[in-house]
Amino acid sequence: MTHDLIVIGAGPAGISTALTAASLGLKTVLLDEQPRAGGQIYRNVTVAPPKVTELLGPDYRYGRAMVERLERSGVDVRHAAVVWDVARDLSVTAMQAGRSFQLRAPQLIAATGAMERPSPIPGWTLPGVMNAGAAQIALKSAGSVPSGPVVLAGGGPLLLLVACQLLEAGATLEGIVETSPTGNRWRALPHLPAALGSPTALLKGLGFMRKLRSAGVPWFTGATELMVDGQEKAQALSFKAGGRAHSLKASVVLLHHGVVPNTQLTRLMRVEHDWDTAQVCWQPRVDAWGQTTLDGLRIAGDGASIGGALAAERSGVLAALGAAHAIGRLSLAERDARAQPAIKALKQQLHIRPFLDALYRPPEWINTPADDTMVCRCEEVTAGRVREMARLGCQGPNQTKFFSRCGMGPCQGRMCGATVSQILAKELGKPVAEIGAYRIRAPLKPVPMASLAALFDDNHENHPT
């Protein structure tokens, strides 16, 4: 064992995990893929120029104190360290500066966060089509905005937030095209009373809408039949709304249909996952302390289920307390007592979730796209080809992968996995949970052979592999 606890990912969940663990005296190491801590939500928060932090707003600037606390905490943080394998015995293999190394601890907390739900529509592989979150990342990490006309399409709080931020940053918004089916509003209504328990979040959402409307950004709702037009790059987004066909010119089309847990690492570790019908995504099965079905492996934050940055921060505290108790460093009574504020705050953060999940539930044609739509971007496999695999007798995503190469490219199924599971479920008339997901294998990210040759353990002894 090299440490008491290994934490993967330095977003809000990972940072609060590491800080809590360190405060309990656990020898903790935090591995993060990026050059600076903060995750995607607080990306670059300590170094972004004032103009950028100003327009990204107080929710972004909030992260600064957290990252600074981490910097002062004395936690062993390894930046730009890519975790590419984790064994069932929890030994972690990562690569930093072209060298791979291994770490081992009795407790491992993955705070690997969320990714945007892929939005497979015709033309979504064209240059210029990006996730809405990508535009925000460009703003956070480089103060850059799209230089030509922009259209935002999809649904969810992030879509509106990014639209507001781009507007403020001087981008040209040609329109917002909401795809949430109109029936969503009725299905969201019963969850509204609970959502009123998170009034600040609701007011923020209303604020976004007011701002965009008063700026006169064309706004379409209940849009269907979205398609990005262009040959070599995006030129326009066409769609139907209000019974009419529309086309908005755009050199950058930003798509967004909510965020989902990034399950690549938990799939690699073969823990149990459940299909969540409300959030329409896979979730690793965890208890209140983030403990998965593999002893010692915990998940903190959006990697377990989507709750947002403030919820992730609290779940990190709970996972760290759980880990400290599991290795005998905290009594049950102490763990429970220390957990109370985090449990209360977490509950508060989650009030609005069922409302948002229902209101922004993606339309069926995003989850199971039409036949000619590309679902696997890497191997260029269409939804129709996946359906053909089902007709030929493929019973699940792995067979489908072997016969069609769907999910076999460099992204290792990150972009098509959930779509393929949902298409197959529908074709085979089975629940998604029964259809399952791609089996994920190491390396999680491509690593050069030379980095393996340099594989040392943390004591710098030659390792037999």
Binding site: V82, P127, M130, S141, S144, K233, V252, R377, P410, P448
Partner: protein, 101 residues
């Protein structure tokens, strides 16, 4: 495809070579955003059909920003910060296997 919202000002710049042409980026930018700011598009052509691609996610999950950096192929340009003198080649089709394997 992208542009910085404020002038480079006192921010340190670095020069890199893309397909033999010099571009200037700001220190701390990821390579993917530096390429987008410089108007480089597409980043690559796919191995399957040769269709053009550029980044989708900018956060390391889509693998559509793969480029060759200093001789190393299939590098996620969104996960790498620019360095002075970086030699970048765009990828046309599958990675090649010449010389070393």
């Amino acid at each position: 495809m992208f542009r910085p919202i404020e002038p480079t000002g006192e921010k340190r710049t670095v020069a890199l070579q893309v397909e033999g042409k010099s571009i200037v980026a700001r220190a701390g930018d990821t390579l993917a955003i530096a390429l987008l700011n410089a108007g480089v598009t597409p980043f690559r052509q796919t191995p399957v059909s040769g269709r053009p691609r550029a980044p989708l996610c900018l956060m390391g999950v889509c693998f559509d920003c793969l480029v060759e950096v200093d001789g190393q192929q299939n590098v996620q340009s969104c996960m790498l910060e620019v360095q002075e003198g970086m030699q970048v080649q765009l990828q046309h089709g599958a990675r090649h296997m010449e010389g070393d394997v």
